[in-house]
């Protein structure tokens, strides 16, 4: 009896379109194109059980397919996943995992990603989930396919499959000096089988393709300009759209005059309820027509940066508090008996993702079917948004996600897709909408601002005895302390945000780590202990201990003594299966008090490493991106308006902000691979803040810290 959630693999061999039970999928053009070959589908045991309970060989595949893999007659392998590539390098790392298990060269793999007509449903690409979930799923399918190919070959040759080996895209019978390529084996009779998931996965120490620094898939297209991003897509007869934005959030339209715009050649103004947009024959004409629209708006009075944190604390979401996430022991008496007590407030500002490619979409209606090319981390979520907006069925909407100019958690939604679809419907032609930088800063969503309050107590010998941590609005990710503390109260307080907020790379993990690790540093100094020693004394998690030690060793922690001009700080933590420790060296100019980060050493461990080069690149990027939120990024707003919606006003990290960065990878081949997209950010801000304190004695408790220095 299989465990309910244990994945099983269904093997379908032979001509796909000829199989009776794929009728539900048969409408999908690509399956017809794929024709024969080996198709492997991964599903969940629960749905499998339902299907088999009705007697499989019934009429459709289980609905909860999570990925497909197809081996064509020419040996080329296509892997279908709803995950999307946004620069985090999963097009490469997932293909490595498949190549490894299937025993084919890396170049034999083509990843088909984020296309709602071609790939199985997927929740979206976020939460550092691709490597720990999609990775094992694809490996399972590939391993099952490999086993199937071995068995087919054994049948053909009438030998024991145990004597055969799969390697280099073929099955070899060494004893009889013969081999058959996968493509040849995949031509055969119809065959349906379930395979249990676990026994055949190749252990990381044996990896030959996974675990190596394979260069980015299709890398050449990125240095030649050939790669087509969402904003690069064009369609025959395509027009260009633009959308009229209100003067502020929650504004109502007072008056509208579109006469001048409508007189411009080829321009059509589209009004649909609150939506006012237009299409024009070219992008320049669209912007000119937009500027010709006269609109007056009433913008209600709204909160601003001033008083924001008191507002967040005093305005719980739904007017109520949901209670603590975690309670152990009793904090108040433990605090009363502690030798050292420290109580502080920390804040983080709203910040913008500012992906270099703003939201963009091209929409096309053909015979009642809507196709949209757009940049999103959730193609199936955007399909749902389009279905709802236009009252369509899933079969009537296709969302295609070309590898995009990144998102960092900022592109979960389908605003531009809906706008382009609405305009295309009205125009009767395909329409492209590309948001301006100012639109992206203003009308996308932001990383939540937050207030964090911590009360903590320790004994004179450095043992933590009490920890109380409240987070208002910024979120609950990594809110729990990784340190051993007998008495804890941990609580996230959802608040009414005055600005639209949503996901962000690392989300609340950054805020919670900033507060906790700054507070830990304050405790260490209060006790007169070395900050690393204090942490290690209260840690029992060997993985976190190991990254702290690795970072400290590489940095030279014990040998470095802070001075007023030069400070050294350390911070670390764990979230989403990734362990991080960060050491920072800052320089403070004696005269100007200007702070500059000179050097960062970051140790990282996320189980078995799939691609060390991609991982280093991603971690270096996380450190650089973290510098922005730590030092200077912040959204300023008042009365429903973003006051700094331009790169000239909203400072992001640039070349001159980048310190010397050393990444120390701890490769744990004995542990499952976790995602690395987010948690690499969280050590930077507290490490830098702690280094500034070590040099200056000034504790900066508000991110971005340079605005409060």
């Amino acid at each position: 009896m299989k465990h309910r959630d244990e994945p099983v693999t269904e093997i379908v061999l032979g001509s796909v379109s000829a199989l009776p039970h794929v009728s539900e999928l048969d409408r999908r053009d690509f399956l017809k194109v794929l024709g024969g070959g080996l198709l492997v589908c991964l599903t969940q045991a629960s749905s499998w059980a339902q299907e088999s309970g009705r007697g499989f060989g019934g009429h459709e595949l289980p609905k909860e397919l999570s990925a497909w893999l197809h081996i064509a007659a020419d040996g080329q392998v296509k892997v279908f996943t709803g995950k999307v590539e946004v620069g985090q390098n999963i097009r490469t790392s997932l293909a490595q995992l498949v190549a490894e298990e299937l025993r084919v060269p890396f170049d034999a793999i083509t990843m088909v990603m984020g296309d709602t007509d071609l790939t199985p449903w997927d929740m979206g690409t976020f939460g550092s989930r691709t490597t720990p979930t999609m990775g094992p799923q694809l490996r399972t399918m590939a391993a099952a396919a490999r086993q199937m190919l071995l068995e087919i070959a054994a049948q053909r040759w009438h030998v024991d499959p145990a004597g055969l080996t799969a390697a280099g895209g073929k099955v070899t019978d060494a004893q009889n000096a013969r081999s058959l390529a996968y493509g040849e084996l995949s031509r055969g009779e119809k065959l349906v089988k379930t395979v249990s998931s676990e026994e055949r996965l190749t252990a990381a120490p044996e990896w030959k393709i996974a675990g190596t620094a394979v260069p980015k898939a299709e890398g050449r297209d990125f240095v030649t300009g050939k790669h087509k991003y969402p904003s690069d897509i064009t369609r025959p007869e395509m027009m260009f759209g633009a959308v009229l934005r209100p003067d502020g959030f929650n504004a109502t339209l007072a008056s509208l005059d579109t006469n001048a715009a409508e007189k411009l050649p080829g321009v059509k103004v589209v009004r649909d309820g609150d939506f006012i947009g237009l299409v024009a024959p070219d992008a320049f004409a669209a912007q000119r027509a937009l500027a010709a629209i006269q609109a007056k708006w009433n913008v209600p009075a709204q909160p601003s940066n001033k008083g924001l944190f008191a507002y967040l604390k005093n305005n719980p979401e739904n007017g109520r508090d949901d209670g603590p996430q975690h309670v152990s022991g009793s904090v108040e008496p433990a605090l009363a008996g502690a030798d050292l007590k420290l109580e502080e407030q920390y804040t983080v500002a709203y910040i913008a993702h500012a992906p270099l490619e703003p939201r963009a979409a091209v929409a096309e209606w053909t015979d009642g079917k809507l196709t949209v090319w757009t940049g999103t981390q959730r193609p199936f979520g955007v399909r749902d948004e389009l279905m709802q907006a236009f009252h369509l069925s899933p079969a009537q909407v296709r969302v295609i996600q070309p590898d995009m100019g990144s998102g960092y958690g900022g592109k979960h939604t389908g605003e531009a897709a809906i706008e382009a679809a609405r305009l295309a419907k009205a125009a009767g032609k395909p329409v492209k909408v590309v948001w301006t930088r100012s639109e992206e800063f203003t009308w996308a969503y932001l990383r939540p601002a937050g207030l964090i309050e911590i009360k903590a107590g320790a004994q004179r010998n450095g043992t933590l005895v009490a920890w109380e941590h409240h987070n208002y609005n910024s979120g609950s990710a990594a809110i729990g302390t990784p340190y051993s503390v007998a008495n804890q109260l941990i609580q996230y307080h959802a608040a009414k945000s005055p600005l639209r907020q949503g996901s962000y790379r690392g989300l609340a993990s950054t805020a919670n780590h900033f507060a906790r690790e700054s507070h830990m540093d304050g405790m260490a100094h209060g006790l007169g202990m070395d900050p690393l020693e204090f942490r290690l004394k209260n840690l029992t998690d060997p993985r976190l201990q190991a990254v702290f030690q690795a970072a400290a060793d590489k940095f030279g922690w014990g040998r470095l003594k802070s001075t007023p001009e030069r400070g050294f700080g350390i911070a670390g933590g764990v979230d989403k299966g990734g362990y991080v420790a960060t050491c920072a060296e800052v320089e403070i100019d004696a005269a100007s008090k200007k702070v500059r980060i000179r050097r960062i050493v970051q140790a990282w461990e996320c189980g078995a490493i799939v691609n060390p080069d991609g991982l280093r690149n991603q971690l270096m990027g996380a450190i650089v991106q973290g510098i922005g939120g730590a030092l200077f990024e912040r959204i300023l707003f008042a009365d429903g308006r973003i006051l700094n919606p331009h790169f000239a006003q909203y400072r992001v990290p640039r070349f001159s902000d980048t310190p010397q960065i050393e990444v120390v990878l701890v490769d744990r081949k004995d542990l499952p691979s976790a995602g690395a997209g987010e948690t690499g950010l969280v050590g930077l801000a507290p490490a830098v803040g702690n280094a500034i304190f070590a040099a200056s004695g000034i504790r900066l408790r508000n991110m971005p810290i340079l605005h409060y220095a």
Partner: protein, 159 residues
Amino acid sequence: MGDFVLNVNGADLRVSAPAEETLLSVLRNRLNLTGTKYGCGEGQCGACTVLLDGRATRSCLVSVESAAKAKIVTIEGLEQNGKLSAMQQAFLDEGAFQCGYCTSGMILRATSLLHERHNPTEEQIAEAMEGHICRCGTYPRIVEAAKRASRLLAEGANR
């Protein structure tokens, strides 16, 4: 609308556009040369950088009318006979990109820098590239790529 002849990547291309339309808009939306990217439209991010008479220039700040007098090179024009330029090869070898959206502008700016200064220091590279944003934070590798290209050119690679 005016009629212009743009010399792009060695070819004379005819285009009809308003004289004040930006070169960026004309390249992307009228000539379908989409390797040149829109990032801000305000000269703040460098994603739209092209070479005008060999000098890195933000195409979002140049009108098509003024660009008509210059030799324009876009990212699509660097590869010669299937061979990448030294800077393209260096970016590829260093893996100096993540999402790659800033890469065209970065490569053209760094190409322009090496025209002016064959062997720049890291500080000189960073200074020259300061106007370019990589939100993925690949700056250290971009500096390494520029240094690598400088070495490749010294060894006689194609510019």
